[in-house]
């Protein structure tokens, strides 16, 4: 079919509409609603039940806007933009409407702010600051509903705080498609809830806690653990599985407290799995290896990691084929590059093995976000191994250990030990080697109890170092260092530099965790006189 120079605009290019928001001239695609136009141009508009990732409910009635030529206020979430439309949500009429809309939300709302986890990031508190009445006129009795309802293993509901915006119900219908939540009864006796036998128990249940604008749905894991205004935020990637969801990590001086998803159009949208949210537990101090441990002829002692790395480096120099390297898919491209080139050139071995943690469920996929491959950077490792030309099979390691051809085994162990079911077996198997160098971030009692020539070196976790992960689809995502949990832990790049004998640049330990003044040191010191 000859290339016809069709004059009509190609179907994919949507028509652009002109409109003015609060006096500012903007252009939007056809078919967007007014509230999408507001959020695309960063203009603030009060809303509760609208969420970009869910269908439009139009029930909170707060996103009222005044459209020129329309006597009645219209809701912005369900009104589509027409060409030349003049919209404004700062006029007195709109402010009064939102003030009353908010007041209707608040008349049956309990005075729970002191005991509510959402205080500090609660939609009602924010809007009250902007549109609050400050002279409440409601003196009647509030409607009493169920408090502290156990919705499922990870979510707690408080029906009195609920403003019935139906976001969570739409989430379980449209995103997780498990239809667990529903709104029962009618009028202001209506309550969110699950049916008796079916709790809210899918792998995405904690997303309902994120999208709940008030403190009705709270997460059991974070319940009463910290106030949100004591937490700082750091953008990162979830290393729970190979999808690589964009996340926000919340931390302060006492460590990490929770993880929330961050919008990324083509990887995870607005959502995140519940298992991914536990990816902060192995980063906190109590789960980490704090110092290097060297065990020689039966006596183990804790020494500085830098010293241990240098000693291991000397043992490996020019050891050739008697050294084997076992790598997991939990590290960054930069680390693989340094590690594998070091083992290929300086050490001169081609026995590099890729430790796959769950071979049977490796390629499973639950249809939304959770992938069977629980390592964030398997793709990066495979690419690096191919580049370096390592093609060793796992059974060669076993034979090598059997025949004694392999004397030293260096293991870049799992950062997130929870996803390695075969960890115990592997430790037993690899400890047969005459010399074992185990690089790992997390604490492991079995490793610390090993006898024979063992060196344990603590590593940094994904929030403490900068690097790139490549997710299952080959999308490279850069992660930045946000904080320091274990000051003297090393990254693989640093370990390799030390093994080569180079000196390390001073590492700036900003956002140091763990130094928090639980008590006043001054008094403690005097206490000992």
């Amino acid at each position: 079919m000859p290339e016809s120079n069709n004059t009509a605009a190609p179907a994919t290019e949507p028509k652009m509409l002109k409109m003015t928001i609060n006096g500012k001239e903007v252009e939007v695609k056809e078919g967007t609603s007014i509230i999408e136009a507001y959020s695309q141009h960063g203009m603030s508009i009060a809303h509760y039940c609208w969420h970009p990732g869910l269908s439009v409910a139009g029930v909170c009635r707060l996103c009222m806007v005044e459209i020129e030529g329309n006597p009645r206020l219209q809701i912005a979430c369900n009104t589509a933009v027409t060409d030349g439309m003049k919209v404004n949500n700062e006029s007195e009429k709109v402010k009064d409407a939102v003030k009353w809309g908010l007041d209707f939300h608040l008349i049956n709302h309990p005075l729970d702010c002191p005991i509510c986890d959402q205080a500090g990031e609660c939609g009602l508190q924010d809007q009250y600051m902007a549109y609050g009445k400050y002279t409440p006129e409601m003196a009647e009795k509030k409607v009493k509903k169920h408090k502290v309802v156990d919705l499922g293993p990870r979510v707690v509901l408080d029906s009195e705080r609920c403003i019935l915006c139906s976001r969570c119900v739409r989430f379980t219908d449209e995103v997780s498609k498990t239809n667990e939540l529903g709104i029962f009864n009618r009028g202001d006796r209506a309550e969110i809830g699950t049916f008796e036998g079916k709790p809210l128990d899918n792998n995405y249940s904690l997303n309902t806690v994120d999208i709940c604008p008030v403190g009705a749905l709270t997460s059991k894991d974070f319940r009463f653990r910290q106030r949100v205004w004591f937490l700082k935020e750091h953008n990162s990637i979830c290393t729970g599985c190979s999808t690589g969801c964009n996340t926000r990590v919340f931390y302060n001086k006492e460590g990490l407290f929770r993880i929330k998803p961050r919008y990324n159009k083509d990887i995870n949208g607005y959502w995140m799995t519940d298992t991914g949210r536990d990816a902060y537990k192995f980063v906190n101090k109590e789960a980490r290896l704090l110092d290097a441990r060297v065990v020689s002829n039966g006596r183990g002692e804790w020494i500085a990691p830098k010293l241990a790395a240098r000693k291991a480096g000397e043992a490996l120099k020019g050891a050739g084929k008697s050294v084997a390297l076992v790598v997991t898919g939990q590290y960054m491209n930069e680390e693989y590059e340094a590690l594998l080139s070091y083992f290929k050139n300086e050490v001169g071995t081609d026995r590099v093995f890729h430790w796959i943690n769950n071979p049977e469920t490796f390629d499973s996929f639950d249809g939304l976000l959770a992938r069977g491959d629980k390592n964030p950077n398997t793709k990066g490792l495979l690419a690096e191994m191919a580049k370096q030309g390592f093609t060793a099979q796992w059974r060669e390691l076993a034979e090598g250990l059997q025949t004694g051809a392999i004397k030293t085994v260096v293991v870049a162990g799992p950062e997130n030990q929870a996803v390695f079911p075969d960890l115990k077996a592997k430790i037993m198997e690899l400890s047969k080697a005459s010399k074992l160098v185990w690089l790992q971030a997390g604490k492991n009692d079995q490793l610390e109890a090993l006898t024979g020539d063992v060196t344990l070196i603590p590593l940094k976790t994904y929030v403490e170092k900068t690097g790139t992960y490549v997710n299952y689809a080959g999308i490279a995502q850069k992660v930045h260092k946000g904080l320091t949990v274990v000051p003297n832990a090393l990254s693989l790049v640093e370990v390799v530099a030390l093994m080569k004998g180079e000196e390390l640049p001073a590492d700036d330990t900003y956002n140091q965790v763990g130094l928090g003044r639980v008590h006043n040191e001054f008094t403690m010191v005097r206490g000992t006189l």
Partner: protein, 174 residues
Amino acid sequence: MSLVQKRTELSKWYLPAIFQGLGWTFVKMVKNLANKKQMITLNYPEQKHEYSPRFKGNHVLTVKKDGSIRCTACMLCATNCPAECITIKAAEHEDPTVEKFPISYEIDMLRCVFCGFCEEACPVDAIRMGPEWQRPAVNGANFVYDLKELAYRPSLKGGIVSVVDETDRHKAGI
């Protein structure tokens, strides 16, 4: 306010100024001996100075009518404290109408500047600044008062009942 006096001829001789001061003290001594009641000195500790009710001394954590701690661990005092000397750890209460209470509440008295911001910030009158302030201790560690100390120390005789009580508010349906 300091009065800077010009150097006079007499003050150059140093001794006259001394005797002028001693004279003044002598006059005061005679007056006091003549009229003991006017004397402003207090025989501490038998006589203690009466402070005004607004005096901001050692903190007191109030209790509910049933004696349980009134604080709901909402962390507003810890947020408002300029010296950051309040450390609270919250926990879940088994009674769903109470829901949240402090499992540990510590004030580091050596760091506290007794400004009373915590008293102002508290939404439920759970913390007050009491009248006592002379509480010695042997070493620094004892100056970190914990929950038992702040709410149930002997001088509080079982705890001060808070004016804002949840149970009445719930019954009234607000």
